[in-house]
């Protein structure tokens, strides 16, 4: 789909409103939208809603060999995806510049700030370390993707539990969640990005721009900070020129906002932890509010499956008999099987490549998980019988000797017997244009 363009009158209206310190949704210049954090059933899965912007985060882990330059550190991998449902302009397969920019900011915010302790992710130095993978999916784009994504990322990392590992000499044991409780990641601090949008060459400033405001802004300043007032990342894009005290003012605002957001995150994590410990229900099902008119829940429903067998039998007897049943598959060798038989080869007059002699079949056919129930195991370890008949001269040319081998009729389509393997192979009667020694087996 194409992105809907912004009309000129809309642009003018937004800019005029901002000059009068008014925002379309009624917020003040420094106000954030409502942040709502909900957790999924798995550890490390959460959804963050910043107003209407919605981001899904999932953390997963895997044991991998470490990077050669850092043999005692774990590996962190971050990936932000703009789902095609987030906005009409996002198409699958195309990487807009925006995506690269966002990924870079998230990486700098979470990786370079060293908020996750990578040394604790080492299991066996130089051989096995944990790779922590964070996947962020933008589900709805209503502005300020960076903030929502950074909050979702850090919340998911704090929520995640990795399997417990014990190392005894050379042996490494990874415990399943049932054997030993999974272990949280070691997080030093929580960096959170705060975005500022500038209008009219830096005169007006808005915190947490919505999608419309982002479209008309001149430039964006992103500051990532933790609650200890340490700046983790700062980036200014859009080519606006900022004065020093503007930047300092923004960083003070950031400190206030980050403190509020960090408190919110802590509360949400505690509530979820409490809920899980008390054995209550958790997961996205619980986060759907009951009072919304657009949401509906149904309890577990029983389905009456009495007389299902009778009904099924009725259908089968009334239905037409199934079409011709093909012969069951025959395993020639491992990886080569044949189902049914082909029709007679009609390429009689063309050059034929040498016929490969099939290897003698040995062994039973392997029973695989997807084997048809009707297939019996077949013992195909019989020697091959080849009947070579009299060569029948087809063409008058003296240079060619056309030999028809095994000119029997097409075999009937029945279940092949073990001793008539030659009927079931693909070596039907065909013409060969070469001298063939008749070998009697």
């Amino acid at each position: 789909m194409k992105a809907t363009p912004l009309s000129n009158c809309e642009r003018r209206f937004l800019l005029r409103a901002i000059e009068e310190k008014k925002r379309l949704d009624g917020r003040q210049c420094y106000d954030y939208r409502n942040i709502r954090i909900s957790f999924g059933a798995d550890y490390g899965c959460c959804i963050v809603e910043l107003g209407k912007t919605r981001v899904l985060a999932q953390v997963s882990c895997e044991l991998v060999p470490p990077k050669l330059s850092r043999p005692t550190e774990g590996v962190l991998f971050f990936n932000l995806e703009l789902s095609p449902m987030a906005a009409p302009g996002f198409e699958p397969g195309r990487q807009p510049e925006l995506l690269v920019q966002l990924n870079r900011i998230i990486e700098r915010c979470l990786r370079n700030s060293k908020c996750v302790d990578t040394e604790s992710l080492c299991v066996v130095a130089g051989e096995k370390v944990w790779q922590i993978r964070l996947d962020l999916h933008l589900l709805n784009h209503d502005g300020n993707i960076i903030d929502a994504a950074s909050i979702a990322g850090i919340v998911a990392l704090c929520h995640f539990r990795r399997p417990d590992v014990s190392v005894q000499g050379e042996e490494v044991t990874v415990y399943t969640p049932e054997e030993r409780d999974p272990v949280p990641l070691s997080i030093h601090h929580m960096p959170i990005c705060v975005s500022f949008a500038f209008f009219q060459q830096g005169t007006y400033l808005l915190v947490d721009p919505s999608e419309r405001e982002e479209r008309v802004m001149d430039g964006l300043l992103v500051i990532a900070m933790n609650k200890h007032h340490e700046i983790c990342t700062i980036q200014s894009s859009g080519g606006i020129m900022l004065v020093k005290d503007q930047v300092l003012r923004c960083s003070k605002i950031t400190a206030v906002k980050v403190a509020e957001i960090t408190e919110l995150i802590q509360k949400a994590l505690e509530n979820d932890q409490k809920g899980r410990k008390e054995g209550g229900k958790f997961g996205f099902a619980e986060s759907i509010p009951n009072q919304k008119i657009t949401a509906f829940k149904m309890e577990s429903a029983a389905v009456d499956t009495n007389n299902v067998e009778e009904q099924a039998e009725e259908i089968i007897t009334k239905a037409e008999p199934p079409s011709e049943v093909f012969a069951k598959p025959i395993l020639h060798t491992v990886g080569t099987a044949q189902i049914g038989e082909g029709i007679e080869n009609s390429w009689g007059d063309l050059e034929e490549s040498e016929r490969e002699e099939a290897a003698e079949e040995e062994g039973e056919s392997e029973a695989t998980a997807f084997e048809c129930q009707k297939m019996e195991t077949e013992d195909t370890s019989t020697t091959r019988e080849t009947k070579k008949d009299e060569p029948i001269v087809v063409s008058d040319s003296e240079e060619e000797e056309v030999v028809i081998l095994e000119p029997q009729e097409l075999p009937k389509k029945t279940r092949p017997q073990t001793n008539s393997k030659q009927e079931t192979t693909s070596k039907k009667a065909f013409n060969k244009r070469r001298k063939k020694k008749r070998a009697a087996h």
Partner: protein, 226 residues
Amino acid sequence: MMAAKEEDKMAVAGDGCCLRPFSCEQGLLSRPDGSAAFLQGDTSVLAGLYGPAEVKGSKELPDRAALEVLLRPKVGLPGVVERSREQLLRQTCEAVVLGALHPRTAITLVLQVMNDAGSLLSCCLNAACMGLLDAGLPLSSLFCGVTCALDANGAIVLDPTTRQEQEARAVLTFAIDSAERKVLMATTKGSCSVEEMQQCLAAAQRAADTIFQFYRDSVRRRYSKS
């Protein structure tokens, strides 16, 4: 065999003849034309729909709408499993959407897996149908997805959890339409006999009644204050 037949009133999640608790929320995303989140027990899928909208030149169909389905897993890039499920969903949706009313347009359905705890394909089908309803696209009938698993004894388990799917001999998913409870799509994994498949289909049609009642109640609630 059908050991749980007499005790099918037991409300145990994923038990032989029970569907897990369902939840659905419609219209939860502001940008897509239609959106729905569907939850079956712990499995949840979010569907977002755009359409009928402008289509790029090569994909344009002169007589009907071009339907595209995208399924995104939670972790990693979409692979072959997602592609095959996309095709199944697309064929099901094309059978019900009256595409002839919107020629030379594109309808894009994006599904995001939020949690996979078994019966994922049927959850995707249900989310897709609720998304189509929310977007207001013209449909000839509704459809729903039901997954059945056949365990080692041959007992039918409806709406199986991940563990039940892994231990099952065969897992079958059906898309059932609402007009005459006919089959729109059937896909199986594993081996089962013809009789067993017909039994699963009959059980799925019974379960479809419950699901369609859920759709009706959910839409009735939504439009109750008008």
